[in-house]
Protein backbone atom coordinates (compact mmCIF):
# COMPACT_ATOMS: atom_id res chain seq x y z
CA UNK A 1 0.00 0.00 0.00
CA UNK A 2 1.69 3.07 -1.20
CA UNK A 3 2.12 6.12 0.97
CA UNK A 4 0.22 7.97 -1.75
CA UNK A 5 -2.89 5.84 -1.23
CA UNK A 6 -2.70 6.22 2.51
CA UNK A 7 -2.64 9.98 2.03
CA UNK A 8 -5.32 9.90 -0.63
CA UNK A 9 -7.62 7.92 1.67
CA UNK A 10 -6.74 9.58 4.95
CA UNK A 11 -9.98 8.85 6.72
CA UNK A 12 -10.18 5.24 5.61
CA UNK A 13 -6.53 4.61 6.41
CA UNK A 14 -6.87 6.29 9.78
CA UNK A 15 -10.00 4.35 10.68
CA UNK A 16 -8.48 1.02 9.77
CA UNK A 17 -5.29 1.92 11.60
CA UNK A 18 -7.38 3.03 14.59
CA UNK A 19 -9.45 -0.14 14.58
CA UNK A 20 -6.35 -2.29 14.70
CA UNK A 21 -4.89 -0.05 17.39
CA UNK A 22 -7.94 -0.30 19.65
CA UNK A 23 -8.24 -4.01 19.05
CA UNK A 24 -4.62 -4.72 19.86
CA UNK A 25 -4.64 -2.36 22.86
CA UNK A 26 -7.62 -4.13 24.36
CA UNK A 27 -6.11 -7.54 23.75
CA UNK A 28 -2.89 -6.46 25.46
CA UNK A 29 -4.64 -4.79 28.36
CA UNK A 30 -6.91 -7.76 28.92
CA UNK A 31 -3.95 -10.07 29.13
CA UNK A 32 -1.98 -7.62 31.30
CA UNK A 33 -4.82 -7.14 33.78
CA UNK A 34 -5.67 -10.81 33.95
CA UNK A 35 -2.09 -11.87 34.43
CA UNK A 36 -1.60 -9.19 37.08
CA UNK A 37 -4.82 -10.08 38.84
CA UNK A 38 -4.12 -13.78 38.97
CA UNK A 39 -0.54 -13.09 40.07
CA UNK A 40 -1.77 -10.92 42.95
CA UNK A 41 -4.40 -13.44 43.83
CA UNK A 42 -1.96 -16.34 43.86
CA UNK A 43 0.53 -14.39 45.97
CA UNK A 44 -2.26 -13.42 48.33
CA UNK A 45 -3.44 -17.00 48.50
CA UNK A 46 0.06 -18.23 49.27
CA UNK A 47 0.28 -15.68 52.06
CA UNK A 48 -3.13 -16.60 53.47
CA UNK A 49 -2.50 -20.31 53.25
CA UNK A 50 -3.34 -22.53 50.30
CA UNK A 51 -6.14 -24.45 52.01
CA UNK A 52 -7.64 -21.56 53.91
CA UNK A 53 -11.02 -21.83 55.61
CA UNK A 54 -12.49 -19.31 57.99
CA UNK A 55 -15.15 -19.98 60.55
CA UNK A 56 -16.76 -16.72 61.65
CA UNK A 57 -19.56 -16.02 64.05
CA UNK A 58 -22.83 -15.09 62.46
CA UNK A 59 -24.13 -11.65 63.29
CA UNK A 60 -27.75 -12.50 63.89
CA UNK A 61 -30.20 -10.80 66.16
CA UNK A 62 -30.47 -12.29 69.62
CA UNK A 63 -34.19 -12.81 69.17
CA UNK A 64 -33.79 -15.26 66.33
CA UNK A 65 -31.32 -17.32 68.31
CA UNK A 66 -32.54 -20.44 70.02
CA UNK A 67 -30.23 -19.66 72.89
CA UNK A 68 -28.90 -23.15 73.17
CA UNK A 69 -25.51 -22.37 71.70
CA UNK A 70 -22.75 -20.44 73.37
CA UNK A 71 -21.43 -19.19 70.05
CA UNK A 72 -17.80 -19.56 69.01
CA UNK A 73 -15.48 -20.00 71.94
CA UNK A 74 -11.85 -20.79 72.63
CA UNK A 75 -12.98 -24.28 73.55
CA UNK A 76 -14.23 -24.76 69.99
CA UNK A 77 -10.75 -23.99 68.70
CA UNK A 78 -9.01 -26.24 71.22
CA UNK A 79 -11.38 -29.11 70.53
CA UNK A 80 -10.95 -28.63 66.77
CA UNK A 81 -7.19 -28.96 67.15
CA UNK A 82 -7.68 -32.26 68.98
CA UNK A 83 -10.28 -33.72 66.63
CA UNK A 84 -8.47 -32.75 63.44
CA UNK A 85 -4.78 -32.70 64.33
CA UNK A 86 -3.90 -32.90 60.61
CA UNK A 87 -4.93 -29.27 60.08
CA UNK A 88 -1.86 -27.12 59.57
CA UNK A 89 -3.08 -24.26 61.71
CA UNK A 90 -6.06 -23.41 63.87
CA UNK A 91 -5.93 -19.73 64.75
CA UNK A 92 -8.70 -18.24 66.87
CA UNK A 93 -9.18 -14.48 67.01
CA UNK A 94 -11.37 -12.20 69.08
CA UNK A 95 -12.10 -8.52 68.58
CA UNK A 96 -13.50 -5.62 70.45
CA UNK A 97 -14.25 -2.26 69.04
CA UNK A 98 -13.37 1.31 69.89
CA UNK A 99 -11.56 0.97 73.15
CA UNK A 100 -10.05 3.97 74.84
CA UNK A 101 -6.31 4.02 74.84
CA UNK A 102 -4.04 6.38 76.70
CA UNK A 103 -0.31 6.73 76.25
CA UNK A 104 1.21 9.45 78.40
CA UNK A 105 -0.55 12.61 77.21
CA UNK A 106 -2.03 11.04 74.08
CA UNK A 107 -5.57 9.68 73.89
CA UNK A 108 -6.83 7.54 71.05
CA UNK A 109 -9.45 4.99 70.17
CA UNK A 110 -8.77 1.66 68.54
CA UNK A 111 -10.10 -1.80 67.98
CA UNK A 112 -8.29 -4.46 69.97
CA UNK A 113 -7.66 -7.95 68.64
CA UNK A 114 -6.86 -10.99 70.73
CA UNK A 115 -4.51 -13.29 68.83
CA UNK A 116 -2.47 -16.44 69.42
CA UNK A 117 1.27 -16.79 68.69
CA UNK A 118 0.47 -18.83 65.53
CA UNK A 119 -1.14 -15.74 64.01
CA UNK A 120 2.36 -14.86 62.89
CA UNK A 121 2.28 -17.75 60.39
CA UNK A 122 -0.57 -16.44 58.22
CA UNK A 123 -1.01 -13.08 56.45
CA UNK A 124 2.19 -11.88 58.05
CA UNK A 125 3.43 -8.88 56.11
CA UNK A 126 4.82 -6.88 58.99
CA UNK A 127 8.27 -5.66 59.81
CA UNK A 128 8.38 -6.42 63.53
CA UNK A 129 10.43 -4.43 66.00
CA UNK A 130 10.57 -6.02 69.46
CA UNK A 131 8.87 -9.40 69.78
CA UNK A 132 5.58 -11.19 69.21
CA UNK A 133 3.54 -13.19 71.75
CA UNK A 134 4.75 -16.48 73.17
CA UNK A 135 3.06 -19.50 74.73
CA UNK A 136 4.17 -18.06 78.06
CA UNK A 137 2.31 -14.81 77.43
CA UNK A 138 -0.79 -16.86 76.73
CA UNK A 139 -0.41 -19.17 79.69
CA UNK A 140 0.11 -16.43 82.26
CA UNK A 141 -2.34 -13.88 80.80
CA UNK A 142 0.49 -11.42 80.39
CA UNK A 143 -0.63 -7.85 79.85
CA UNK A 144 1.53 -7.23 76.84
CA UNK A 145 0.59 -5.80 73.48
CA UNK A 146 1.91 -5.21 69.96
CA UNK A 147 1.04 -1.99 68.16
CA UNK A 148 0.42 -2.00 64.42
CA UNK A 149 1.85 0.90 62.53
CA UNK A 150 -0.01 1.78 59.29
CA UNK A 151 1.86 1.58 56.02
CA UNK A 152 2.67 4.67 54.04
CA UNK A 153 0.19 5.52 51.33
CA UNK A 154 1.37 4.23 47.99
CA UNK A 155 3.20 6.44 45.56
CA UNK A 156 1.34 4.99 42.61
CA UNK A 157 -2.17 5.55 43.85
CA UNK A 158 -3.31 9.01 42.84
CA UNK A 159 -6.45 8.96 45.02
CA UNK A 160 -4.42 8.56 48.16
CA UNK A 161 -3.06 12.04 47.72
CA UNK A 162 -6.54 13.36 48.39
CA UNK A 163 -7.82 10.83 50.86
CA UNK A 164 -5.30 9.55 53.33
CA UNK A 165 -6.07 6.93 55.98
CA UNK A 166 -5.21 8.30 59.35
CA UNK A 167 -3.20 6.32 61.84
CA UNK A 168 -4.81 7.04 65.23
CA UNK A 169 -1.37 6.82 66.79
CA UNK A 170 0.24 9.23 64.39
CA UNK A 171 0.90 11.80 67.11
CA UNK A 172 2.21 9.12 69.41
CA UNK A 173 4.82 7.94 66.93
CA UNK A 174 5.75 11.50 66.11
CA UNK A 175 6.48 12.30 69.75
CA UNK A 176 7.68 9.07 71.35
CA UNK A 177 9.22 5.70 70.73
CA UNK A 178 6.64 3.59 72.58
CA UNK A 179 8.52 0.27 72.47
CA UNK A 180 8.94 -1.11 75.99
CA UNK A 181 6.69 1.53 77.55
CA UNK A 182 3.32 1.05 79.11
CA UNK A 183 0.01 1.95 77.61
CA UNK A 184 -3.46 2.06 79.14
CA UNK A 185 -6.20 0.12 77.41
CA UNK A 186 -9.52 0.80 79.12
CA UNK A 187 -8.62 0.26 82.81
CA UNK A 188 -5.53 -1.87 82.44
CA UNK A 189 -1.91 -1.09 81.85
CA UNK A 190 -0.16 -3.09 79.14
CA UNK A 191 3.48 -3.22 78.16
CA UNK A 192 4.25 -2.59 74.51
CA UNK A 193 6.56 -5.46 73.51
CA UNK A 194 6.54 -4.99 69.75
CA UNK A 195 5.72 -2.65 66.92
CA UNK A 196 4.56 -4.24 63.66
CA UNK A 197 5.16 -2.00 60.70
CA UNK A 198 2.81 -2.54 57.75
CA UNK A 199 4.34 -2.35 54.26
CA UNK A 200 3.53 0.68 52.08
CA UNK A 201 -0.01 0.35 50.76
CA UNK A 202 0.96 -0.22 47.17
CA UNK A 203 3.42 -2.94 48.09
CA UNK A 204 1.15 -4.81 50.48
CA UNK A 205 1.01 -8.33 49.07
CA UNK A 206 -2.17 -9.25 50.96
CA UNK A 207 -4.96 -9.91 48.54
CA UNK A 208 -7.50 -10.86 51.20
CA UNK A 209 -7.50 -9.65 54.79
CA UNK A 210 -6.11 -6.19 54.51
CA UNK A 211 -6.98 -4.22 57.58
CA UNK A 212 -8.49 -1.04 56.32
CA UNK A 213 -10.11 -0.37 59.70
CA UNK A 214 -8.43 0.98 62.75
CA UNK A 215 -7.17 -2.27 64.11
CA UNK A 216 -4.11 -0.97 65.86
CA UNK A 217 -3.49 -3.17 68.89
CA UNK A 218 -2.92 -6.88 69.36
CA UNK A 219 -2.92 -8.63 72.72
CA UNK A 220 -2.63 -12.33 73.57
CA UNK A 221 -6.03 -14.01 73.18
CA UNK A 222 -6.12 -15.25 76.79
CA UNK A 223 -5.27 -11.81 78.14
CA UNK A 224 -7.86 -10.29 75.84
CA UNK A 225 -10.58 -12.60 77.09
CA UNK A 226 -9.70 -12.05 80.73
CA UNK A 227 -9.13 -8.28 80.87
CA UNK A 228 -10.96 -6.77 77.91
CA UNK A 229 -13.78 -9.08 76.90
CA UNK A 230 -14.51 -10.92 80.15
CA UNK A 231 -15.64 -14.02 78.27
CA UNK A 232 -14.12 -16.90 76.34
CA UNK A 233 -15.96 -15.99 73.12
CA UNK A 234 -14.05 -15.57 69.91
CA UNK A 235 -15.02 -14.01 66.56
CA UNK A 236 -13.32 -16.32 64.11
CA UNK A 237 -11.12 -19.34 63.64
CA UNK A 238 -8.68 -19.46 60.75
CA UNK A 239 -7.91 -22.95 59.49
CA UNK A 240 -5.46 -24.12 56.84
CA UNK A 241 -5.75 -27.63 55.43
CA UNK A 242 -2.53 -27.05 53.49
CA UNK A 243 -4.10 -27.97 50.15
CA UNK A 244 -6.79 -26.20 48.10
CA UNK A 245 -8.02 -29.61 46.95
CA UNK A 246 -9.14 -30.64 50.42
CA UNK A 247 -10.97 -27.46 51.39
CA UNK A 248 -14.37 -28.63 50.16
CA UNK A 249 -14.07 -31.80 52.20
CA UNK A 250 -13.03 -29.94 55.34
CA UNK A 251 -15.67 -27.28 54.83
CA UNK A 252 -18.21 -30.03 55.16
CA UNK A 253 -16.48 -31.61 58.14
CA UNK A 254 -16.12 -28.29 59.93
CA UNK A 255 -19.78 -27.54 59.44
CA UNK A 256 -20.80 -30.86 61.03
CA UNK A 257 -18.25 -30.42 63.78
CA UNK A 258 -19.52 -26.98 64.78
CA UNK A 259 -23.19 -27.88 64.39
CA UNK A 260 -22.64 -30.70 66.82
CA UNK A 261 -20.82 -28.51 69.32
CA UNK A 262 -23.41 -25.74 68.97
CA UNK A 263 -26.30 -28.13 69.50
CA UNK A 264 -27.63 -27.84 66.01
CA UNK A 265 -27.63 -24.08 65.90
CA UNK A 266 -25.95 -22.68 62.83
CA UNK A 267 -24.60 -19.52 64.36
CA UNK A 268 -21.44 -19.51 62.26
CA UNK A 269 -20.37 -19.11 58.65
CA UNK A 270 -17.60 -20.95 56.85
CA UNK A 271 -15.66 -19.20 54.11
CA UNK A 272 -13.77 -21.30 51.62
CA UNK A 273 -11.05 -19.18 50.02
CA UNK A 274 -10.06 -21.41 47.17
CA UNK A 275 -13.75 -21.56 46.22
CA UNK A 276 -14.00 -17.81 46.59
CA UNK A 277 -10.98 -17.46 44.36
CA UNK A 278 -12.40 -19.70 41.65
CA UNK A 279 -15.61 -17.68 41.82
CA UNK A 280 -13.62 -14.52 41.25
CA UNK A 281 -11.69 -16.11 38.46
CA UNK A 282 -15.00 -16.94 36.79
CA UNK A 283 -16.01 -13.30 36.98
CA UNK A 284 -12.63 -12.29 35.68
CA UNK A 285 -13.16 -14.59 32.73
CA UNK A 286 -16.50 -12.96 31.99
CA UNK A 287 -14.79 -9.60 32.10
CA UNK A 288 -12.18 -10.97 29.74
CA UNK A 289 -14.88 -12.08 27.31
CA UNK A 290 -16.21 -8.52 27.16
CA UNK A 291 -12.75 -7.15 26.47
CA UNK A 292 -12.02 -9.78 23.86
CA UNK A 293 -15.35 -9.05 22.19
CA UNK A 294 -14.37 -5.38 21.92
CA UNK A 295 -11.02 -6.50 20.59
CA UNK A 296 -12.51 -8.80 17.98
CA UNK A 297 -15.03 -6.20 16.80
CA UNK A 298 -12.40 -3.49 16.42
CA UNK A 299 -10.00 -5.89 14.74
CA UNK A 300 -12.68 -6.86 12.25
CA UNK A 301 -13.56 -3.20 11.70
CA UNK A 302 -9.89 -2.41 11.23
CA UNK A 303 -9.50 -5.39 8.95
CA UNK A 304 -12.41 -4.33 6.77
CA UNK A 305 -10.89 -0.86 6.66
CA UNK A 306 -7.62 -2.36 5.52
CA UNK A 307 -9.44 -4.35 2.88
CA UNK A 308 -11.08 -1.14 1.71
CA UNK A 309 -7.87 0.83 1.51
CA UNK A 310 -6.17 -2.08 -0.21
CA UNK A 311 -8.90 -2.32 -2.82
CA UNK A 312 -8.63 1.41 -3.47
CA UNK A 313 -4.90 0.93 -3.77
CA UNK A 314 -5.29 -1.86 -6.27
CA UNK A 315 -7.60 0.24 -8.44
CA UNK A 316 -5.24 3.18 -8.37
CA UNK A 317 -2.32 1.02 -9.35
CA UNK A 318 -3.68 -1.13 -12.14
CA UNK A 319 -1.17 0.33 -14.57
CA UNK A 320 1.72 -0.42 -12.24
CA UNK A 321 0.48 -3.99 -11.87
CA UNK A 322 0.45 -4.29 -15.68
CA UNK A 323 4.02 -3.00 -15.87
CA UNK A 324 5.23 -5.39 -13.22
CA UNK A 325 3.55 -8.31 -14.94
CA UNK A 326 4.99 -7.26 -18.30
CA UNK A 327 8.52 -7.47 -16.92
CA UNK A 328 8.01 -10.90 -15.42
CA UNK A 329 6.07 -10.67 -12.15
CA UNK A 330 3.98 -13.78 -11.49
CA UNK A 331 0.56 -13.72 -9.84
CA UNK A 332 2.18 -14.81 -6.61
CA UNK A 333 4.71 -11.95 -6.81
CA UNK A 334 1.89 -9.41 -7.09
CA UNK A 335 -0.18 -11.09 -4.37
CA UNK A 336 2.74 -11.12 -1.95
CA UNK A 337 3.57 -7.49 -2.70
CA UNK A 338 0.07 -6.23 -1.91
CA UNK A 339 -0.39 -8.44 1.14
CA UNK A 340 2.94 -7.25 2.54
CA UNK A 341 2.13 -3.62 1.94
CA UNK A 342 -1.22 -3.89 3.73
CA UNK A 343 0.34 -5.82 6.54
CA UNK A 344 2.74 -2.97 7.15
CA UNK A 345 -0.22 -0.66 7.82
CA UNK A 346 -1.80 -3.22 10.10
CA UNK A 347 1.41 -3.86 12.01
CA UNK A 348 1.96 -0.12 12.40
CA UNK A 349 -1.53 0.08 13.91
CA UNK A 350 -0.70 -2.92 16.05
CA UNK A 351 2.52 -1.37 17.36
CA UNK A 352 0.68 1.81 18.32
CA UNK A 353 -1.92 -0.45 19.95
CA UNK A 354 0.80 -2.19 21.95
CA UNK A 355 2.12 1.20 23.10
CA UNK A 356 -1.40 2.32 23.98
CA UNK A 357 -2.09 -0.93 25.80
CA UNK A 358 1.09 -0.68 27.84
CA UNK A 359 0.36 2.97 28.62
CA UNK A 360 -3.20 2.19 29.63
CA UNK A 361 -2.18 -0.77 31.71
CA UNK A 362 0.33 1.34 33.61
CA UNK A 363 -2.28 4.00 34.27
CA UNK A 364 -4.80 1.56 35.71
CA UNK A 365 -2.94 0.65 38.92
CA UNK A 366 -3.01 4.28 39.97
CA UNK A 367 -6.68 3.90 40.75
CA UNK A 368 -6.23 1.32 43.48
CA UNK A 369 -3.76 0.45 46.20
CA UNK A 370 -2.40 -2.64 44.66
CA UNK A 371 -3.56 -3.57 41.24
CA UNK A 372 -0.72 -5.09 39.42
CA UNK A 373 -0.42 -5.54 35.70
CA UNK A 374 1.86 -7.95 33.95
CA UNK A 375 3.02 -7.32 30.40
CA UNK A 376 5.00 -10.30 29.24
CA UNK A 377 7.10 -10.35 26.06
CA UNK A 378 4.88 -13.22 25.01
CA UNK A 379 1.71 -11.11 25.10
CA UNK A 380 3.42 -8.36 23.09
CA UNK A 381 4.51 -10.99 20.59
CA UNK A 382 0.96 -12.32 20.45
CA UNK A 383 -0.37 -8.85 19.71
CA UNK A 384 2.11 -8.29 16.92
CA UNK A 385 1.25 -11.67 15.43
CA UNK A 386 -2.45 -10.81 15.59
CA UNK A 387 -1.89 -7.55 13.72
CA UNK A 388 0.18 -9.38 11.13
CA UNK A 389 -2.59 -11.94 10.83
CA UNK A 390 -5.34 -9.34 10.47
CA UNK A 391 -3.34 -7.43 7.85
CA UNK A 392 -2.70 -10.58 5.85
CA UNK A 393 -6.19 -12.05 6.06
CA UNK A 394 -7.98 -8.87 5.10
CA UNK A 395 -5.65 -7.96 2.25
CA UNK A 396 -5.72 -11.33 0.54
CA UNK A 397 -8.94 -10.56 -1.36
CA UNK A 398 -7.73 -7.18 -2.74
CA UNK A 399 -4.31 -8.63 -3.46
CA UNK A 400 -5.91 -11.49 -5.33
CA UNK A 401 -7.89 -9.00 -7.41
CA UNK A 402 -4.59 -7.37 -8.30
CA UNK A 403 -2.82 -10.64 -9.04
CA UNK A 404 -5.39 -11.95 -11.48
CA UNK A 405 -5.43 -8.82 -13.66
CA UNK A 406 -4.72 -9.42 -17.33
CA UNK A 407 -1.39 -7.76 -18.22
CA UNK A 408 -2.50 -6.31 -21.56
CA UNK A 409 -5.70 -4.85 -20.11
CA UNK A 410 -3.87 -3.55 -17.09
CA UNK A 411 -1.33 -1.76 -19.31
CA UNK A 412 -4.06 -0.23 -21.41
CA UNK A 413 -5.87 1.07 -18.27
CA UNK A 414 -5.57 4.79 -17.67
Amino acid sequence: MGWGEIKAHKMRSFLSFFGITIGIASVLMTIAILQGFSKNMKEGMALSGPGRLEVTKKWTETKSRKGVSQGLTSQDALSLEKVMPELQVVIPKARSFRKNIIFKDIRAESNIVGVVPEAQTRDWVYDLRGRFFTAGDMQFFKRVCVLIKKGEPGQKNIWRKFWKRKDPFEQLYAKYDPLGQSIRIQDNLFTIIGIAQEPPEDEDPRFFHRSYGNEMVWVPLTTFQKYIQNSNKIDEIIVDTGDPETTAYYEDRLKRFFLLRHRGEEDFDIQNYSQLMSGWMKQVRNFRMVFLLIAIISLIAGGIGIMNVSLATVYSRIKEIGIRKAVGATRLDILVQFVLESTVLSVAGGLVGVALGIGGAFLLPSFSDRFEIVISPLSVLLCISISIGVGMIFSIYPAYQAAKLDPVEALRYE
Binding site: I323, R324, A326, G328, A329, T330, V408
Partner: protein, 221 residues
Protein backbone atom coordinates in the same frame (compact mmCIF):
# COMPACT_ATOMS: atom_id res chain seq x y z
CA UNK B 1 14.11 -18.52 -32.84
CA UNK B 2 10.44 -17.65 -33.30
CA UNK B 3 8.15 -20.10 -35.06
CA UNK B 4 4.43 -19.33 -35.40
CA UNK B 5 1.89 -21.61 -37.02
CA UNK B 6 -1.71 -20.71 -37.72
CA UNK B 7 -1.90 -18.14 -34.94
CA UNK B 8 -5.44 -16.92 -34.47
CA UNK B 9 -6.76 -14.44 -31.95
CA UNK B 10 -10.48 -13.92 -31.60
CA UNK B 11 -11.87 -11.29 -29.23
CA UNK B 12 -15.30 -12.09 -27.90
CA UNK B 13 -17.53 -9.42 -26.52
CA UNK B 14 -18.97 -10.89 -23.37
CA UNK B 15 -22.16 -8.82 -23.55
CA UNK B 16 -23.29 -9.06 -27.14
CA UNK B 17 -21.48 -12.31 -27.91
CA UNK B 18 -20.09 -10.80 -31.12
CA UNK B 19 -16.65 -11.92 -32.23
CA UNK B 20 -13.75 -10.04 -33.73
CA UNK B 21 -10.92 -11.83 -35.46
CA UNK B 22 -7.82 -9.76 -34.69
CA UNK B 23 -5.33 -12.34 -35.95
CA UNK B 24 -6.34 -14.68 -38.70
CA UNK B 25 -4.25 -17.81 -39.24
CA UNK B 26 -0.84 -16.17 -39.09
CA UNK B 27 2.26 -18.27 -39.75
CA UNK B 28 5.85 -17.12 -39.98
CA UNK B 29 9.30 -17.70 -38.54
CA UNK B 30 12.22 -15.52 -37.54
CA UNK B 31 15.82 -16.70 -37.35
CA UNK B 32 17.99 -16.07 -34.34
CA UNK B 33 19.55 -12.63 -34.63
CA UNK B 34 16.96 -11.53 -37.18
CA UNK B 35 15.75 -7.96 -37.33
CA UNK B 36 12.17 -7.85 -38.60
CA UNK B 37 9.87 -4.86 -39.07
CA UNK B 38 6.12 -5.25 -38.76
CA UNK B 39 4.10 -2.76 -40.78
CA UNK B 40 0.45 -2.27 -41.58
CA UNK B 41 -2.45 0.09 -41.06
CA UNK B 42 -3.81 0.87 -37.66
CA UNK B 43 -6.06 -1.85 -36.21
CA UNK B 44 -4.66 -4.61 -38.43
CA UNK B 45 -3.48 -6.68 -35.42
CA UNK B 46 0.19 -5.69 -35.02
CA UNK B 47 -0.07 -5.13 -31.27
CA UNK B 48 -2.15 -8.25 -30.84
CA UNK B 49 0.58 -10.25 -32.56
CA UNK B 50 3.33 -8.68 -30.46
CA UNK B 51 1.44 -9.31 -27.21
CA UNK B 52 1.16 -12.97 -28.08
CA UNK B 53 4.83 -13.15 -29.05
CA UNK B 54 5.69 -11.35 -25.79
CA UNK B 55 3.65 -13.86 -23.73
CA UNK B 56 1.44 -11.03 -22.49
CA UNK B 57 -1.50 -12.73 -24.15
CA UNK B 58 -2.37 -16.16 -25.49
CA UNK B 59 -3.52 -17.08 -28.96
CA UNK B 60 -7.04 -18.45 -29.37
CA UNK B 61 -5.62 -21.07 -31.70
CA UNK B 62 -2.31 -22.07 -33.23
CA UNK B 63 1.16 -22.75 -31.95
CA UNK B 64 3.98 -20.46 -30.94
CA UNK B 65 7.47 -21.85 -30.35
CA UNK B 66 10.10 -19.68 -28.73
CA UNK B 67 13.62 -21.11 -29.12
CA UNK B 68 12.13 -24.54 -29.59
CA UNK B 69 9.74 -24.36 -26.63
CA UNK B 70 6.00 -24.40 -27.15
CA UNK B 71 4.72 -21.52 -25.02
CA UNK B 72 1.01 -21.33 -25.90
CA UNK B 73 0.17 -24.05 -23.35
CA UNK B 74 2.33 -22.81 -20.51
CA UNK B 75 0.85 -22.08 -17.08
CA UNK B 76 0.40 -18.50 -15.92
CA UNK B 77 3.50 -18.78 -13.78
CA UNK B 78 5.74 -20.22 -16.49
CA UNK B 79 4.42 -17.69 -18.96
CA UNK B 80 5.36 -14.87 -16.56
CA UNK B 81 8.85 -16.30 -16.27
CA UNK B 82 9.33 -16.63 -20.02
CA UNK B 83 8.06 -13.05 -20.34
CA UNK B 84 10.53 -11.82 -17.78
CA UNK B 85 13.65 -13.74 -18.78
CA UNK B 86 13.50 -14.48 -22.48
CA UNK B 87 11.70 -11.43 -23.81
CA UNK B 88 12.27 -7.70 -23.57
CA UNK B 89 9.24 -5.56 -24.41
CA UNK B 90 9.35 -1.90 -25.42
CA UNK B 91 6.03 -0.03 -25.58
CA UNK B 92 4.93 3.03 -27.46
CA UNK B 93 3.78 4.64 -24.19
CA UNK B 94 7.03 3.69 -22.36
CA UNK B 95 5.13 2.20 -19.38
CA UNK B 96 7.65 3.15 -16.73
CA UNK B 97 6.84 3.34 -13.01
CA UNK B 98 6.27 7.11 -12.70
CA UNK B 99 7.48 7.53 -9.12
CA UNK B 100 10.57 5.35 -9.42
CA UNK B 101 13.98 6.44 -10.62
CA UNK B 102 15.39 5.36 -13.97
CA UNK B 103 17.73 3.06 -12.07
CA UNK B 104 14.92 1.37 -10.20
CA UNK B 105 12.84 1.05 -13.36
CA UNK B 106 15.68 -0.73 -15.13
CA UNK B 107 16.32 -2.97 -12.11
CA UNK B 108 12.64 -3.96 -11.83
CA UNK B 109 12.66 -7.06 -14.11
CA UNK B 110 15.63 -8.46 -12.19
CA UNK B 111 13.60 -8.46 -8.97
CA UNK B 112 11.36 -11.08 -10.56
CA UNK B 113 14.26 -13.14 -11.90
CA UNK B 114 15.73 -13.29 -8.40
CA UNK B 115 18.90 -11.29 -9.00
CA UNK B 116 20.55 -10.02 -5.84
CA UNK B 117 20.00 -6.38 -5.05
CA UNK B 118 23.62 -5.28 -5.41
CA UNK B 119 23.87 -7.06 -8.75
CA UNK B 120 20.60 -5.54 -9.90
CA UNK B 121 21.88 -2.04 -9.24
CA UNK B 122 25.21 -2.76 -10.90
CA UNK B 123 23.60 -4.24 -14.01
CA UNK B 124 21.07 -1.39 -14.23
CA UNK B 125 23.89 1.16 -14.06
CA UNK B 126 25.75 -0.56 -16.90
CA UNK B 127 22.61 -0.72 -19.04
CA UNK B 128 21.79 2.94 -18.44
CA UNK B 129 25.34 3.83 -19.47
CA UNK B 130 24.93 1.80 -22.65
CA UNK B 131 21.82 3.76 -23.63
CA UNK B 132 23.59 7.02 -22.81
CA UNK B 133 21.87 7.97 -19.57
CA UNK B 134 24.74 7.71 -17.09
CA UNK B 135 23.98 11.22 -15.81
CA UNK B 136 20.26 10.70 -15.19
CA UNK B 137 20.00 7.47 -13.26
CA UNK B 138 18.33 9.09 -10.28
CA UNK B 139 15.75 10.93 -12.38
CA UNK B 140 12.15 9.79 -12.34
CA UNK B 141 10.39 9.45 -15.73
CA UNK B 142 8.71 12.83 -15.14
CA UNK B 143 12.17 14.40 -15.06
CA UNK B 144 13.13 12.85 -18.41
CA UNK B 145 12.32 13.72 -22.02
CA UNK B 146 10.38 11.32 -24.23
CA UNK B 147 13.49 10.02 -25.93
CA UNK B 148 15.21 9.51 -22.59
CA UNK B 149 12.17 7.65 -21.24
CA UNK B 150 12.27 5.29 -24.19
CA UNK B 151 15.99 4.71 -23.57
CA UNK B 152 15.18 3.78 -19.98
CA UNK B 153 12.48 1.41 -21.29
CA UNK B 154 14.99 -0.18 -23.68
CA UNK B 155 17.53 -0.56 -20.91
CA UNK B 156 14.80 -2.21 -18.82
CA UNK B 157 13.96 -4.57 -21.71
CA UNK B 158 17.61 -5.67 -21.73
CA UNK B 159 17.83 -6.24 -17.97
CA UNK B 160 17.55 -10.02 -18.02
CA UNK B 161 19.60 -10.46 -21.23
CA UNK B 162 16.60 -11.64 -23.27
CA UNK B 163 17.11 -13.35 -26.60
CA UNK B 164 14.18 -11.53 -28.14
CA UNK B 165 13.33 -7.83 -28.15
CA UNK B 166 9.80 -6.83 -29.07
CA UNK B 167 9.04 -3.16 -29.70
CA UNK B 168 5.53 -1.89 -30.39
CA UNK B 169 5.82 1.46 -32.18
CA UNK B 170 8.67 2.58 -29.94
CA UNK B 171 8.97 5.87 -31.80
CA UNK B 172 5.24 6.55 -31.98
CA UNK B 173 5.32 9.12 -29.19
CA UNK B 174 8.58 10.76 -30.24
CA UNK B 175 9.55 13.45 -32.73
CA UNK B 176 11.33 12.22 -35.83
CA UNK B 177 14.84 13.15 -34.67
CA UNK B 178 14.67 11.35 -31.34
CA UNK B 179 12.77 8.57 -33.06
CA UNK B 180 15.71 8.18 -35.37
CA UNK B 181 18.09 7.94 -32.42
CA UNK B 182 15.97 5.24 -30.80
CA UNK B 183 15.84 3.27 -34.03
CA UNK B 184 19.60 3.39 -34.45
CA UNK B 185 19.83 2.05 -30.89
CA UNK B 186 17.77 -0.95 -32.03
CA UNK B 187 20.02 -1.40 -35.02
CA UNK B 188 23.04 -1.39 -32.74
CA UNK B 189 21.37 -3.99 -30.53
CA UNK B 190 20.62 -6.10 -33.58
CA UNK B 191 24.34 -6.21 -34.29
CA UNK B 192 24.97 -7.72 -30.84
CA UNK B 193 22.86 -10.72 -31.87
CA UNK B 194 19.46 -9.94 -30.37
CA UNK B 195 16.44 -11.13 -32.27
CA UNK B 196 14.31 -8.04 -32.81
CA UNK B 197 10.72 -7.57 -33.91
CA UNK B 198 9.73 -3.96 -34.31
CA UNK B 199 6.39 -2.41 -35.23
CA UNK B 200 6.92 0.81 -37.15
CA UNK B 201 5.41 3.16 -39.66
CA UNK B 202 8.83 4.32 -40.81
CA UNK B 203 9.47 3.18 -44.40
CA UNK B 204 13.24 3.71 -44.04
CA UNK B 205 13.53 1.50 -41.03
CA UNK B 206 11.32 -1.10 -42.61
CA UNK B 207 13.71 -1.15 -45.54
CA UNK B 208 16.79 -1.21 -43.35
CA UNK B 209 15.49 -4.17 -41.38
CA UNK B 210 16.48 -7.62 -42.51
CA UNK B 211 12.89 -8.79 -42.83
CA UNK B 212 9.45 -7.36 -43.23
CA UNK B 213 6.06 -8.55 -42.06
CA UNK B 214 3.29 -6.65 -43.76
CA UNK B 215 -0.13 -7.04 -42.19
CA UNK B 216 -3.69 -6.23 -43.16
CA UNK B 217 -6.92 -7.17 -41.39
CA UNK B 218 -5.23 -9.68 -39.11
CA UNK B 219 -3.41 -11.42 -41.93
CA UNK B 220 0.13 -11.33 -43.27
CA UNK B 221 0.14 -10.10 -46.84
Amino acid sequence: MILCKNLTKIYRDGGSGSEYVALDDVSFSIEKGGFVAVVGPSGCGKSTLLHILGCLDRPTQGSYQLSGQEVSHLSEKDLAQVRGRKIGFVFQAFHLLPRSSALHNVALPMIYSNVLKSQRIQKAQILLQEVGLEGKMKNTPLQLSGGERQRVAIARALANDPEVLLADEPTGNLDSKTGQEILSLFQKLSQTGKTILLVTHDREIAKAAGGLIQMKDGKIV
